[in-house]
């Protein structure tokens, strides 16, 4: 039995090897990466079901008065997240193997391996110290990857890193307070102690919980910390974007589920509102607000990656809302949506990366009609956005349905309406992306040069399509293995393959899909039984049969893409004026000015007297008052 510790060390070693020796050999690096992820999937599969497994490493740290022996434990929550991380990375590796031939690609394998090592650490750790170590490592490893994108500028990456640092600092502070209070850093024990603490003296538990929640929310891109998401997505290398959107946003969710949710749902004896502790209610609403704002921001977005980034943020919002509900259904819906989102978002980003591979563009206003040249990519993207919009029969529908059920079950009607808004809005901007990139009229330059992506890159797309559809029809394939996971949250409903239970209804996915297929068959029958059709090139119809070349002019191409939803964006213009983005800019600007002024203190020769005075004053005042 391969131990988790070995897997982590293996990843680090591989990362070092690739970094030192293989930077120039991209293909080989990706093959290595692929092998590693496949191997870890295999190891993980072996570990499934073995929930009492734990291991301790032979190192012993003395941190303060707390003696720690770091170790790993195999719990369902960690297992699932690890499994998806590894599996999606594995899929992605095929894609990257093909992508590496493009001039836009950089060798990000070493850092990605570090991220995988850090993920394993975070997901399986037994104690908080390793958690912190993994958390911080995620931060800086991602910094270098995100920076390696097409622009190779670090500003966007820095934005991400800043938030990662804030999240990390909050985490360290919270963990220390836990350690000091409970004299141990073992996650298991501290969860139990925390529940007791929250039950008896909620005021003491509150600051710690708040810090932890904020830390995890920052990592998830919730409002008002969502700034880094679009920037990081845009700048990251195209084949890493699937990972960012699918996986990295989920680390925060993992943290919430690991520690905050169990405590909030089981024991928090603070004030209650609408049957939920206020703490949870506030954050549930925060999730909704995040979705709403992200959706609105997505309407006016012209860059494909940024648009999808906002979509990820919105989906993270749904998940946050669902899990803070605290009910088994809510957590199940949130978790299922998290996993589904990992799949469909990764797939969508892979298609975008495929477009980048062929056209070098992510600006949607510069594209159009690519479906005619890249049919597989188009189909994948189509299925992806159907899933993302939560439309049957794809997997996104099942999880969204569950979340609605969870909300309604707890009688949160306003939240449901708001979520509807976000959901419908999602459909809007996703369609816009579909149209602007793949449909409509194609540019001449693309008409000439673009063809479908190589087969190697298509493999994950095909697999993704099958997964999305399969899980949409048979959600049980995911829900069944999740049963032990749900047990840790107190729910022991046994899942069937295709019927999903909700709180105000139930859903039979197999039947609905069959009906849908029947409908399609009927429609197709009507279609094909009617008169025959006649294919003509698009321009003929458009130019009413005239041939512009006859008059030495080129056909007037007109792709409607810019300002697609101008009416809606106009409506929201008043809200978009005050953006959190600008607030951050202002803050950083102020910081810069302060820095410069302080710089002057040191270098300007005349200021000594003032400086000395200031120091003296500080001493006196501080001594008197502190």
């Amino acid at each position: 039995m391969i131990s988790i510790g070995t897997m982590i060390i293996l990843a680090v070693v591989l990362a070092l090897i690739t970094r030192v020796f293989l930077m120039k050999h991209k293909l080989l690096s990706w093959v290595l990466f692929s092998a590693y992820t496949a191997f870890s999937v295999f190891v993980l599969l072996k570990l499934y079901g073995n929930w009492n497994y734990f291991e301790t490493m032979n190192l012993s740290y003395l941190v303060g008065r707390i003696n720690m022996r770091p170790g790993f434990m195999n719990k369902p929550l960690g297992w699932f997240f690890s499994f998806f991380v590894m599996a999606m990375s594995f899929l992605n590796s095929f894609f990257s193997m093909g992508f590496s031939k493009s001039i836009h690609s950089r060798n990000i394998v070493p850092h990605w391996l570090m991220i995988l090592a850090a993920s394993l650490t975070v997901f399986f750790t037994k104690d908080w110290l390793l958690f912190i170590i993994g958390w911080e490592t995620l931060g800086w490893a991602s910094f270098f990857i995100i920076m390696g994108g097409k622009q190779k500028k670090y500003k966007d990456s820095m934005s991400y890193y800043f938030f990662s640092l804030v999240s990390g600092m909050l985490l360290i502070a919270a963990v220390w307070m836990i350690g000091i209070k409970f004299r141990t850093l073992n996650i298991h024990t501290t969860t139990r102690s925390m529940i007791i603490l929250a039950k008896n003296t909620p005021w003491q538990a509150f600051p710690i919980l708040l810090m932890l929640t904020l830390s995890f929310l920052i990592k998830s891109g919730a409002y008002p910390f969502h700034i880094w998401a679009p920037r990081a997505h845009k700048s990251a290398p195209a084949d890493f974007s699937p990972f960012i959107s699918g996986i990295m946003i989920k680390f925060g969710i993992f943290g919430l589920l690991l520690y905050v949710i169990p405590i909030v749902s089981k024991g928090y004896a603070g004030y209650s509102i609408f049957g939920m502790p206020v703490f949870a209610w506030v954050f549930s609403w925060l999730g909704i607000i995040t979705s709403a704002i992200a959706t609105v921001l997505a309407f006016s977005e012209n860059d494909a990656k940024r648009l999808m980034a906002y979509s990820s943020v919105a989906n993270a919002g749904y998940i946050i809302t669902a899990i803070f509900l605290g009910t088994a259904l809510g957590i199940k819906g949130g978790l299922l949506h998290a996993f589904n989102h990992m799949i469909f978002k990764a797939v969508i980003f892979m298609t975008i990366a495929a477009v980048v591979y062929r056209t070098g563009e992510t600006d949607m206003n510069k594209m159009g009609g690519l479906a005619y040249k890249m049919p597989i990519t188009f189909m994948t993207f189509l299925l992806g956005i159907i899933a993302a919009a939560g439309i049957a029969p794809m997997n996104g529908f099942v999880s969204k349905w569950m979340i609605y059920q969870a909300l309604l079950g707890q009688k949160h009607y306003f939240m449901t309406v708001a979520m509807f808004f976000a959901s419908t809005g999602a459909f809007l901007y996703l369609y816009r992306a579909l149209h602007a990139i793949f449909l409509g009229q194609i540019r001449e330059v693309h008409e000439r040069e673009v063809k479908e992506v190589p087969f190697l890159m298509q493999i994950p797309m095909w697999i993704g399509m099958i997964l999305m559809f399969g899980l949409g029809v048979f959600p049980g394939y995911l829900l069944r293995p999740m049963m032990p996971l749900m047990k840790t949250f107190g729910s022991s409903i046994s899942e069937s393959l295709n019927v999903v239970q909700g709180s105000v209804g139930s859903l039979n996915t197999l039947f609905s899909t069959v009906i849908f297929i029947l409908g399609v068959v009927i429609a197709a029958a009507i279609f094909f039984l009617s008169a025959k059709t006649h294919k003509t090139p698009m321009m003929d119809n458009y130019t009413s049969g005239e041939d512009p070349e006859e008059w030495n002019v080129t056909p007037n191409k007109y792709q409607f893409s810019y300002g697609f939803y101008e009416p809606i964006t106009k409506m929201f213009a008043w809200a978009l004026k005050r953006s959190v983005d600008k607030a951050y800019f202002k803050a950083s600007y102020i910081l810069k000015i302060i820095g410069r002024e302080i710089n002057m203190i040191f270098t300007d020769h005349n200021n000594w007297g003032y400086a000395a005075l200031l120091g003296l004053l500080a001493m006196i005042i501080g001594g008197l008052f502190l």
């Binding site: 349905w401 419908t424 059709t533 698009m538």
Partner: protein, 280 residues
């Protein structure tokens, strides 16, 4: 089929309101058959895919709406499934016409989607109101809740909600003042611009099916479902008539005004209704 009949009758009513005689009531059938029999042009297989997907989705939706308490299989008339399956219909149509290459099509789609954002919200609110009352998201149950005669119909119990729903459904069916999607004089019929022959035929069928199940939903929600198929159909027609009547006399909204309107007036009505219900 019934939908087509409705449309035909609708045209007569419109005409009569507009002081014309109007075509015979079976005109719509003739139109569809004619269209289906015509040779048509297409530009890309996506157009075909889109049309089929659209109609397929709409048919699937229709199957899930209980008609006079009857369903092909016992799905319970799940509301969310219905809503989302309908969206597939939309998506299919949108995709198909986008692939036609004419920019008027996506113009229309963009408007249609914006409008959808507008009407989904109040509609969702209405649905949620009913779900909260029955504790179930099944249309059959909501219909069953109204059993027991004329006075227990939801239209009587929740009149404000009904008015709000009417406005919303008006938008759903893309009738004036909410027909920005088609807007014949503005954007050359929008999505329909490149559809010819059997595509257009399919499109008409799509419209018919949509009208059918939209009115059916309304009947289930407000008019007590109906004991048998005849009363049900009659009620559906009643709903449709109201829509047509409004359509024939009103001009068109601008999109932003339409969305704003949809978000304020019906939503306000529903909120008031909810408050009344909850505070009682």
């Amino acid at each position: 089929m019934v939908g087509l009949l409705f449309i035909g009758l609708g045209r007569i009513i419109t005409a009569r309101v507009q002081r014309r005689i109007g075509p015979p009531f079976y005109q719509q059938f003739i139109d569809v058959i004619k269209l289906l029999a015509r040779e048509s042009i297409w530009h890309h297989w996506i157009m075909t895919l889109g049309s089929i997907m659209a109609l397929g989705g709409l048919i699937a939706t229709m199957v899930h709406v209980p008609v006079a308490g009857w369903l092909p299989y016992d799905s319970g008339g799940p509301i969310f499934l219905i809503l989302y399956l309908a969206t597939i219909g939309y998506l299919g149509m949108a995709m198909g016409v986008s692939a036609s290459g004419n920019p008027n099509a996506p113009l229309g789609i963009g408007r249609a989607l914006s409008l959808m954002l507008g009407y989904e919200i109040p509609f969702a609110a209405i649905l949620i109101l009913f779900i909260s009352l029955t504790g179930s998201s099944s249309l059959t149950e909501i219909a069953a809740m109204q059993a027991g005669g004329f006075l227990s119909w939801n239209i009587v119990k929740f009149p404000l909600a009904f008015i709000a729903a009417e406005i919303t459904v008006q938008a759903m069916m893309a009738e004036k003042p909410f027909d920005q999607m088609i807007a014949p004089s503005e954007i050359a019929s929008g999505p329909l611009v490149e559809l010819g022959g059997k595509f257009l035929g399919l499109g008409m069928i799509q419209m018919a099916v949509a009208i059918y199940f939209e009115t059916a939903i309304m009947v289930n929600l407000f008019f007590g479902g109906g004991a048998n198929i005849f009363t049900f159909t009659l009620k559906q027609f009643g709903v449709y008539t109201i829509a047509i009547l409004i359509n024939s006399v009103m001009p068109r909204y601008k999109i932003e005004n339409a969305v704003r309107y949809l978000w304020t007036v019906p939503l306000a009505l529903i909120i008031i209704q909810m408050l009344i219900v909850f505070l009682r």
